[in-house]
Symmetry: C2
């Protein structure tokens, strides 16, 4: 049985008109002798509205009931899609988490899929039916409704593809694929045909919001090819796959960026063991995400300067936490909330020397000052002044031949 | 275990503020050493919105998926109520139809409750929990979601009261009880303390929309006392109970009415067997509800005049159906769409002679012409000109001592 898993995101099912279009997309797979398993998000806006209600009821709404509440969103959208397919003359039914069943482990509101019972769905597929499965939900061992914390319906799709050994897993969304950089910022951005899991993970965590990083990681671990494509226009999307499936001589796959960063430098920090932990512990406890960290070796061995970046929105909170932190000593705090991060990403840099030099040189030639540098195996990130951001993206996009 | 079933209707849970009030009502029963089972409707407007969406998807939305769709409404409201009780420090959880489970029989969208599995809920009650059960929903023998066609959440409440042998079944709604007549029409209308099932049934079918007639009938068959009261103000409501529980010397319990009726008279109908069936069959097939029917015996034994009433809204459709009905012959059709029906209702009339005379005489004294008369064991209805309606209600309300 050749199975394809189709996942539709919130905007793809955002109205009854959109749901009618989704039904057409689903039926387009049938002549290709595929058995289709559909998994859907809630209609866009529905989940937020339910979360808003839960907050009106309690500023600390109990997780068990939160799951019952928000899972209603996918219940509504999957029944509407199935209703449309029935209207068009196809055999289809909705499957809620407890009906499949999809078993989860872990806490309410942040459960993970442990097992998917296959028999019912296989039988239904064999009978010619199109199952529309409610994403983002499952049940735990006490038969309580749970929701998937990491990746939501993307995670449901990937786990369905894994358990049913699907040939394809297609994520329908409101963008038509992954681009070499943000097409709204750089006009010459190109759609990427194939990208490796690792590159996609770096793109995702550097600001390209196509798929949840956790879901990409799940796909990587289970070796599931994913195609990300648009439910709004007919065009091939981007395939996220194993490195060895990618035949391309590009060293760099894409340029990603985050715009609104802030930089904090603590000058003259006492350099003793555990000082970095003392600085970052209260930030972690307050859910402030520290991104780049640079520590200079102190000349006298007693003091050091420590620089790190955070989201601009977290700046004032962070400053307060630092200043009232009695565990640390420093001479001065320097703050810059007008910085941005640009990253180049590509598995090609592992085997190609000189990428770092090319990057720095290209920026230097246009007088763009690099404030902080951070590297990983397949990514080089630099912090620049926000006024230089678009120029930097454009230069790097051109330097690494991403325009063609 | 002294169990009380509390049912909350759509307006009672119509907003998160309302749900907070409902949580307070629920907890008010706990010091009275009751075990409380709550059953709830969807927040007002939610079901209509879901039905609207289903109609946008298909003018003939499949019933199996309709049930999945609309049952999400009660799923949301029951989790919000439970969330609020948890916020207040009480042990509570939501129970969906499949979790209890509540087993239904019959077709989708018009299922009836067949059985309620008690063990899980009893165990939960004994552990000190407050179960909040989603009304209007159950599952069938194929583990598909079903909704209760007749009476909806009222029916759920009565069946819960029956299966759990509840001492009380309290229907919280947006009216504070059953009145001797519509308090918006007649200022002197009084709240009825106790009313028999039979009287309530006649009141309901004559236009007093406090509870679904089917649910009252279910309560009657199962001998379950119901209290109808307001979740908006603190005041005793109306108890619907067995006749023998009612100690009251009132002959008449109330005056009900329907305002927008229409009357059709077919003059000179051929009087042969089956002619009435021929007239009413197409109306029945088009879901037109015929209310009062009067047929005069023909003087020559060959022709007759037949008069019947319908809702004004159905008049033009009915006229068309009659005129194109080839199975019937008549000389003339007379139509009056400015009539209303007034009814007096009371079990007391069974044992008290002269009620009919008193009714007709009271109307006659005020020059109100009676167009059609129809009687049942505990009800007398008369059709009057719509301009006389309010006067007629007022006269009868006074005549039968309902003002005090």
């Amino acid at each position: 049985m050749k199975i394809v898993v189709l996942k539709f995101g919130g905007t793809s099912v955002g109205s009854t008109d959109r749901i009618k279009k989704v039904a057409k997309i689903i039926t387009s797979y049938l002549p290709k002798s595929y058995k289709v398993i559909v998994v859907t998000s809630a209609m866009s806006g529905v989940t937020n509205e339910l979360v808003r209600k839960s907050k009106e009821i309690s500023n600390n709404f109990i997780a068990e009931e939160y799951d019952v509440l928000v899972s209603a969103g996918e219940q509504m959208s999957c029944s509407l899609i199935s209703g449309r397919l029935n209207h068009l003359g196809y055999k289809s039914r909705s499957w809620l988490g407890w009906q499949v069943p999809i078993f989860t482990k872990g806490n309410h509101a942040s459960a993970r899929i442990k097992n998917i019972y296959k028999k019912n769905i296989i039988k239904y597929l064999k009978s010619g039916g199109i199952p529309i499965i409610a994403g983002f939900q499952g049940i735990n061992s006490s038969s309580r409704v749970t929701t998937i914390g990491r990746g939501g319906t993307d995670a449901s799709a990937i786990m369905l593809a894994r358990f049913f050994k699907a040939e394809k897993c297609i994520i329908y969304t409101d963008v038509d694929g992954v681009y070499t950089t943000d097409p709204n910022t750089i006009r010459k951005a190109k759609k990427i045909k194939k990208i490796s899991y690792e590159e996609m993970l770096e793109m995702a965590s550097s600001g390209s919001k196509v798929m949840q990083p956790h879901s990409i990681q799940d796909a990587r671990l289970n070796r599931i090819d994913i195609e990300v494509r648009s439910s709004f226009k007919k065009a091939a999307g981007t395939i996220i796959t194993k490195r060895k499936n990618i035949l391309s001589n590009k060293i760099i796959r894409g340029v990603s960026f985050t715009k609104n960063d802030a930089k904090i430098t603590l000058v003259g920090v006492k350099d003793k063991p555990g000082v970095a932990a003392s600085i970052f512990e209260p930030l972690y406890k307050n859910s402030i995400n520290v991104d780049m960290v640079v520590q200079n070796i102190s000349s006298n061995g007693k003091e050091t300067d420590l620089t790190f970046t955070i989201k601009s929105d977290d700046l004032s909170k962070t400053e307060k936490l630092i200043k009232k932190n009695k565990k640390i000593n420093f001479k001065k705090i320097i703050v810059d909330d007008k910085v941005s991060k640009v990253s180049i990403i590509g598995v090609g840099m592992i085997t190609t020397p000189g990428v770092t030099y090319r990057m720095f040189n290209a920026l230097a030639k246009k007088n763009i000052n690099i404030i902080v540098i951070s590297t990983s195996e397949i990514k080089i990130s630099v912090l620049v002044s926000r006024k230089d951001l678009n120029k930097a993206i454009s230069i790097l996009h051109k330097e690494f031949n991403l325009e063609n």
